[in-house]
């Protein structure tokens, strides 16, 4: 069916981006107080919803080629080309669904900002930048969008500029973002030099394998640093939590997806057919990212930083899927490649849903209590019941547990891993089971991490007065969170619909697609063949509900109805203070002992008072950020040493300066002279 002509769809999408930019300009002029920011956020929600619909329409409409919208604002080396192919259409749909709901949340939440003019104007600009990256069909507009996205989000990160921690986060973020954009610039430069132009259509014929390999590494650094691949993730857990929570949701849930898009666009679409070994660096880095990301998250007791580290883990899972797809594609195994790619992009969608949900939940908690530190929270399920339900759904989904959506995409990734013995090469065949074990391990660790996140924050007794006095958040925020929770369940219960929607993407990138899933009986999904594996989320969900309802009914019918509330068992020490509860730190202690002693060089030390001394004993935990110490600290030291040396230049006498100027002049003349 043709819903609208592709050209019209692309024009409408481009005007959506323009509308967002206009909104940003309007916000600068008009926003003074909560009312104005509500209007801007509401308009953002509507535009994003429209963009998501356009993306879906474009994804489902059949096409021969790509209808390019050429803009008259030509950059010096080419004209701006915008357009949607299936890949960008899928991502436009994914990011705008999340962005629309987050904007709806912001209508309620954004009114709490103390300085709305530091947040509101950049918000639409940020979304516009992300959409421009997806729409771009040439390297210039891609990079312009990429930088707009980076700068707008940087401005949002430092919007609360009074805190030194936020300023540091902003500095690290902008340095990493600039470095990442630079490597992407090189990648596009190589492709353009080989292909003869900066439009994507001109780059595609480039098939030189050396260029392709260089571009793979540059994309892995450039897009990977934005997505948060280890060891380039360091900015992410600093910057994402520093922003206001609805922006954190966008940065973690949505912007990292644009980075994934950048990687897929460059490596799968532009860099030509992959060599057999391309998957090896991708898989190794992805496995490390998944495992280390979740371990870092487990060590955290700041709720938003925990979520940000968890984004790192999920990016690892997505890149495992992408690495598998590269491996299958290089060996000509189209169907397996399609499965791996669909699993990866399905996880992109899932992560954008549940991570946005969880960040919104953490925002609601932050708003209600003023606390991000889980050690000061607790018992919020009584005071914020609806937030608790939504947050719980997000926790179950992100822990990859059925019947929610996280499980569906991880199940597909496992199925893809199980197809990898078909690969002819030895190294991937040895590597992939290890990556599979890492994936399984990180899924189990994620469950632990979210038992901690939910259990310490929402369950138990309040650990501080702020948590005891919390109030439920506003209606807009609650609605947004519940919509996310429902979408998480829906995508988990009817995964076939998502897989079918992603079929054009795998057809475009790999030339192969999975069999249609929605025609399967009972809405089950069958990635390869029914006798090989099948999963029916709907039926599993229905069975759990029926079994639980039947049990509850039987127990209600036959059991004693007597129920009494009484104090918890206290071992003979009544009125135990909430300080005796398990904390985030103590919950993670077994994991710290088992995994952390190697990864983080974690050490526990107990100082006991001398016999007879009535002072308190103290326990200390020492954790090292080994990745920071290994990769970042040396760079910082070198930069500091150089600047220290150069600093002397500021304190010379006028004679020295004149000598330097003269020497520089002579040197330049020599250079010019020999150049002739």
């Amino acid at each position: 069916m043709t819903l609208a002509s592709p050209l019209l769809l692309n024009q409408l999408t481009a005007s959506g981006v323009a509308a967002l930019l206009t909104l940003a300009a309007l916000a600068i002029l008009t926003v003074r107080g909560p009312r104005g920011s509500q209007l801007i956020y509401g308009a953002c929600a509507l535009i994003c919803a429209a963009l998501a619909c356009l993306g879906l329409c474009s994804l489902f409409s059949p096409r021969a080629g790509i209808a390019i919208v050429e803009l008259p604002v030509g950059l010096p080396l080419g004209r701006t080309q915008l357009g949607l192919d299936p890949l960008s259409a899928a991502f436009v749909a994914i990011i705008n669904i999340a962005a629309a709901i987050v904007s709806g949340y912001a209508v309620g939440y954004g009114t709490h900002a103390s300085e709305p003019r530091r947040v509101v104007p950049f918000y639409p600009a940020f979304i516009a930048g992300m959409n421009l990256v997806l729409l771009a069909q040439d390297a210039f507009s891609f990079l312009v969008g990429w930088e707009a996205m980076s700068l707008a989000s940087w401005a949002l990160v430092v919007s609360d500029h009074h805190s030194a921690e936020n300023r540091r986060a902003g500095l690290i973020y902008i340095v990493m973002a600039t470095a990442g954009a630079l490597t992407l610039l090189f990648a596009f430069g190589l492709l353009a030099a080989h292909g003869g132009g900066y439009a994507f259509s001109e780059m595609r014929p480039a098939t030189n394998s050396a260029v392709g390999a260089a571009v793979l590494f540059l994309a892995l650094i450039g897009a990977g640093s934005k997505a948060g691949l280890v060891p380039l993730h360091a900015w992410l857990p600093l910057a994402h939590p520093a922003a206001p929570s609805h922006v954190s949701a966008l940065m973690s849930g949505v912007m990292t997806k644009v980075a994934v898009y950048g990687f897929v666009r460059i490596v799968f679409d532009l860099a030509g057919p992959p060599a057999w070994w391309w998957n090896i660096p991708v898989l190794i880095i992805a496995g490390l990212t998944a495992f280390l990301g979740v371990l870092y998250a487990l060590m955290e007791h700041d709720l938003k930083r925990l979520l940000a580290y968890h984004t790192v883990e999920n990016i690892g899972i997505i890149f495992i899927g992408l690495g598998l797809a590269l491996a299958f594609r290089a060996s000509g195994l189209g169907a397996a490649g399609a499965l791996a790619l669909v699993a990866a992009i399905f996880h992109v969608l899932n992560h954008s849903l549940f991570k946005s949900l969880l960040f919104l939940g953490s925002g609601a908690v932050l708003n209600a209590t003023g606390e991000r530190d889980m050690e000061h929270l607790g018992g919020l399920i009584h005071r914020m019941p609806v937030t608790a339900v939504a947050f719980l759904c997000g926790c179950i989904a992100i822990s990859a547990l059925p019947p929610f959506n996280g499980f569906a995409s991880e199940w597909l990734t496992f199925q893809a891993i199980l197809l990898s013995p078909q690969l002819p090469q030895w190294i991937p065949r040895l590597l992939i089971p290890a990556v599979g074990a890492t994936l399984a391990c990180s899924a189990a660790l994620a469950a632990t991490c979210f038992v901690k996140a939910f259990g310490i924050t929402f369950l138990g007794r309040p650990r501080a007065t702020a948590a005891a006095a919390a109030r439920e958040t506003d209606r807009w925020s609650l609605t947004a969170m519940l919509i996310f929770a429902i979408l998480c369940l829906l995508a988990g219960v009817v995964p076939g619909a998502v897989m079918d929607a992603l079929a054009p993407v795998s057809k475009m990138l790999l030339g192969a697609q999975l069999a249609p899933q929605l025609t399967q009986p009972w809405l089950r999904i069958v990635p390869i063949a029914p006798e090989r594996s099948a999963y029916n989320g709907l039926l599993v969900f229905a069975m759990i509900v029926i079994a639980a309802a039947a049990t509850a009914f039987v127990v209600r019918r036959f059991a004693s109805h007597a129920m009494r509330r009484s104090p918890a068992w206290d071992c003979g020490f009544p009125d135990a203070s909430p300080a005796t509860e398990y904390t985030a730190g103590s919950f993670a202690q077994p994991i710290r002992r088992v995994f952390g002693s190697v990864v983080f060089r974690a050490q526990e030390r107990v100082e006991m008072p001398k016999p007879g001394d009535t002072g308190a004993a103290r326990a200390y935990v020492e954790i090292h950020d080994t990745l920071w110490e290994a990769f970042y600290a040396p760079v910082i030291r070198v930069v500091e040493a150089i600047t220290e040396r150069l600093n002397r230049l500021q304190f010379l006498t006028i004679r020295n300066y004149l000598t330097i100027v003269f020497a520089a002049l002579v040197l330049l003349l020599i250079v010019v002279g020999t150049g002739r």
Partner: protein, 317 residues
């Protein structure tokens, strides 16, 4: 189709009815091995009945999650248990959920149980939850590695297909299978809170994991959670029986006689496995908590080794 439905229904009822008996039998065997007389094998039924007749005491600050969790835990475990073929393969539900789903359903149950442990806000619940989740971070990947091994042999993650493959002529005795079996047994011991990982018979604070999480539960809630624990033991033993001793199990299109044979074979297998489990349990001492990761880590490494051996050999499909 209709027959598969009936088999499925019979199976769902069967596991439910049989699970307490299995626990009763293991307790009886254990008592006999320790030269005690032990309670009757139907004691677990009596316990459940007693519990649901009793008044339920709920801690003052327990939330709705605490009261809802037992039913969801039981439901997830029950659904998982009905997915494992016991006396006959060709379950109707088998086409909807494979072995990975079974592992994940148990994961859902564990997730909710750990949350329930944290809900009241005593340190017992916390200690249990945090240890249980720590064990799970090793046991669950180990289990998935076993699943991978079996799936690579049989070319399928569906239990019916795996079982059919293991009975078929194509099966080869391989080192990978042996490693997977050992890993599965270790995981079963760990997941069911048996000695040496945990001790189901004590309520001493420092030794307990599973019991600590459910310390606050009483009455009908406790009954439902206990029933879920019985079902989990049955599930793991059925899984071992279904995959590694698939003889006698009735196939999808078999007649009444073979269903009878399958049922008898299933009971015998369960009995033998229960005896071996208890024999192992009585022969070994409880481990310190921080030795358990080594124990479960062995399972993970064995599972990984089994998978890698298959990946590099040509046997896999």
């Amino acid at each position: 189709m209709m027959r598969n439905w009936l088999t499925q229904l019979a199976q769902a009822v069967l596991v439910l009815g049989l699970a307490p008996l299995l626990s009763g039998v293991t307790r009886k065997i254990k008592a006999r091995l320790l030269r005690r007389r032990g309670p009757s094998v139907i004691q677990p039924y009596r316990d459940l009945l007693k519990l649901i007749r009793k008044e339920t005491v709920v801690a003052e600050n327990a939330s709705w999650l605490y009261r809802l969790a037992p039913y969801l835990i039981f439901a997830a475990t029950w659904v998982a248990a009905t997915l494992v073929p016991t006396f006959a393969t060709g379950l109707w539900f088998g086409a909807a959920a494979d072995l990975i789903v079974i592992v994940a359903l148990l994961g859902t149950a564990r997730f909710l149980l750990a949350l329930a442990g944290l809900d009241v806000g005593t340190s017992f619940g916390g200690i249990g939850s945090s240890r249980e989740m720590m064990f799970a971070t090793l046991a669950e990947p180990a289990m998935l590695m076993v699943v991978f091994t079996l799936a690579l042999f049989a070319g399928s993650t569906e239990l019916s297909s795996i079982s059919a493959y293991m009975t078929g002529a194509g099966v080869v005795l391989s080192i990978s299978l042996a490693l997977a079996l050992v890993a599965l047994i270790i995981v079963s011991i760990g997941e069911n809170a048996r000695i040496p990982v945990d001790n189901p018979a004590t309520h001493l604070e420092l030794t307990m994991v599973h019991e600590a999480m459910i310390l606050e539960y009483s009455g009908r809630h406790l009954a439902v959670i206990e029933a879920a624990a019985f079902l989990k033991l049955l599930l793991y033993l059925s899984l071992i029986a279904c995959v590694f001793t698939p003889w006698g199990t009735a196939s999808a299109a078999a007649g009444a006689v073979s269903y009878g044979v399958g049922f008898a074979a299933y009971l015998i297998k369960l009995g033998v496995l229960a005896f071996l489990l208890v024999l192992f349990e009585t022969a070994i001492a409880k481990m310190r908590v921080f030795r358990v990761p080594d124990f479960l880590g062995v399972a993970l490494m064995l599972g990984l080794l089994a998978t890698i051996l298959l990946f590099v050999s040509k046997v896999s499909r």
